[in-house]
Symmetry: C2
Subunit: 411 residues, 2 copies
């Protein structure tokens, strides 16, 4: 892609009152545009990142044997009334009070499942969607970490009994770990409260980060971690699990959660199945969320320096950023050649070519702001050396390499 | 995919008051589930169809040089007030009257473009999204043809002058023709009214079909067509264009439209650019819509018989439907082999294998209902012949062919 043709531009102007670092950097880089508090448009550069996040999630959900579907946002109040959740403050309701905007889809999926599940032969089943959610957040000042409108991957599973649910629950935890690994996000699996549904703990994946709105207690030597809301431990206590490590306290961003719903919704929506003996039983359910837009914000909070974002390779909008400096026609011609070689190797969608008429300072600042992992500079200086300049966004070292070496060095 | 593992099932039960043929057949086949009037969940089988439609649209939009982005649904009233559209009856508003749900995105995209477009060097530009829209339709009885919530691909273009807009407008018409061709939808390009924005005609792509809610006048010999709302012609008149053909009148489903917005929105949102002489000008805009969920409904209205849907190859949820009849273990083993061969040839995502324990009648009825283009039967009878039975959903002829011939015959 030629950078001169990109729809979005970098900017120095931030909307009034935009305090969160992730939103500031995403706006400056032209990844998102703020529509109103807690509501963002995802611009083409940002959508490239978001689609890569979604694709990783989708692959791991499909590997779990879950099928993708798409439920509506406009959910008639009859659904919410049936589960006694119509009064939740979090729901945006339409003016006529006929609909609530989906902030979670247990009601709708349970009603649908009642058409699909009748017998033990139909179990287990799992379905997911990657879909827009709405929550009437009173405070929406954390950028993409807490939106009034945001993208959510929600997975729902259906089981004959608790044992099968428990098995699947562990499988989803493994799948979520794999997703977060692929996204280069280090997260702690923390126990948390079960809300109205269950007396058991549920689990959250918490990324320890100063921008987090939760507080997590965790062991510095083993895997033990709890959300402060339910923990009896304090900073400095001995770890209750390994009895060796020390309990630390830090802020966390909840990027995913897993939840045993039990039979709460199958009871409300009459979701039964006949077992082998012809006896009617309630279906046992689980629900599991992971937030792609929140992950995008978390990746920024986790990967930036004073100059801009440092995207992990797996989700970067482009793999390589080729920057032409100066106006020499010969250098331009050589850079055009390098661009051809790069798109031959990495595909057109993975190479951004800054061929704009702009100063070196502006171009290099933009490159740092955009945070593409590999930067290649073609300039008078590199042309004289018959090489180009190669640099990782995350490193200081600069190498002068021949065009032929590029495809070997860039992984 | 093994059919026994599919989340959705076929059903004979239709929700009360569901009168539209497309919704009836899509519900019966397990492609969609009705959530409330005009609101449907797209089930896994339906999402496979919808994704294929979206992919065709996306490819042609990208070929036009348009970049994809994603705008929000929760649009603050300040946007609608600025364009004087806040009072439109079609908008769902939130209870607090802070937001309207996006039914179209001229306001939001123009406000965004004001950050990206400042100079003639930034023009032309085009962006699109495939995104959920909401319209408070008083009557929502046409299934996927007129939803209260539906998917829309909306493209917006930005130009220095009318001439450039006119050029692009013709390019979009060509791209839309290509999309509809690939979807096997025969549509007439009809002139229609410009509403509040323009005194010129706009254009709609109308699929002539008894389920259509519009009325189209068209020539039986040339390309001339008009929406009845603006036409001065009547059924039986001589064609005003070719002067040879006769004007016919029929119902049409509007599957796409193209619209010259002129400077209405750039004026409201201060979207200007500096020309080569440093003079400030308003950006000239176009907007172009095509509805993936409406297209899905139209494809059904256009392709069904008394037994169910006949999906065109380009959008069928699966290319091949392998149906095992009877409970003979040897036949089952052979069918398993055929399944392996088929997924080797066409990919796992293109083959549905009905290995359920169900009667031949149920299985064959379901196959007709699902409407997958190629049906292959493995049974006692075919096993004795050392062949399988091959049939196109749209044809009556049955062939007995060897496994080796399958990949040659199925295109």
């Amino acid at each position: 892609m030629h950078q001169s043709e990109l729809f979005s531009k970098t900017t120095k102007n931030l909307p009034e009152g935009e305090e969160s670092k992730n939103a500031q950097l995403l706006i400056k880089g032209g990844f998102v545009n703020k529509s109103s508090a807690g509501v963002y448009s995802i611009l083409p550069l940002g959508l490239k990142v978001l689609n890569k996040i979604n694709q990783i999630i989708r692959e791991e959900m499909n590997a779990l044997g879950a099928e993708e579907l798409l439920m509506p946002s406009l959910i008639h109040k009859k659904y919410w009334e049936q589960s006694k959740r119509w009064e939740a403050d979090i729901i945006y309701k339409t003016k006529d009070l006929d609909y609530g905007l989906g902030w979670t889809h247990e009601e709708v999926i349970t009603a649908i499942a009642a058409h699909s599940i009748n017998s033990y032969k139909d179990l287990p089943k799992a379905v997911y969607q990657i879909q827009t959610k709405f929550r009437a957040e009173p405070r929406a000042q954390a950028g993409l970490l807490r939106g009034r409108e945001f993208l959510m991957k929600d997975l729902y599973s259906f089981h004959a009994d608790e044992k099968d649910l428990n098995n699947y629950y562990q499988k989803v935890i493994k799948a979520y770990k794999k997703i977060l690994d692929r996204l280069c996000l280090k997260a702690r699996l923390a126990e948390a409260g079960g809300g109205a549904f269950t007396k058991e703990f549920t689990h959250e994946f918490q990324v320890l980060n100063p921008a987090g709105e939760d507080t997590v207690l965790y062991c510095d030597q083993c895997d033990w971690a709890q959300n402060r809301e339910i923990s009896k431990m304090e900073h400095g206590d001995k770890c209750p699990a390994c009895k060796k490590g020390s309990v630390k306290m830090y802020r966390g961003i909840e990027v995913a959660n897993v939840f045993k719903l039990g039979t709460k919704f199958s009871e409300a929506f009459n979701l039964n199945y006949l077992d082998k003996n012809g006896k009617k039983n309630l279906v046992v359910m689980g629900s599991y969320g992971i937030g792609p837009t929140r992950i995008m914000g978390t990746l920024v909070e986790d990967n930036y320096d004073e100059k801009g974002i440092l995207w992990p390779d797996a989700v970067a909008p482009y793999k390589v950023h080729l920057v032409l400096l100066g106006e020499d026609k010969k250098v331009k011609k050589e850079a055009d050649e390098v661009y051809k070689i790069l798109i031959g190797h990495f595909g057109e969608s993975e190479v951004l070519y800054d061929e704009r008429n702009a100063s070196a300072g502006e171009k290099l600042n933009d490159a740092d702001l955009l945070g593409i992992p590999w930067r290649i500079i073609a300039s008078d200086k590199t042309a004289k050396l018959k090489k180009v300049e190669l640099k990782r966004r995350s490193e200081k070292e600069i190498k002068f390499v021949s065009e032929k070496q590029l495809s070997k060095l860039i992984k």
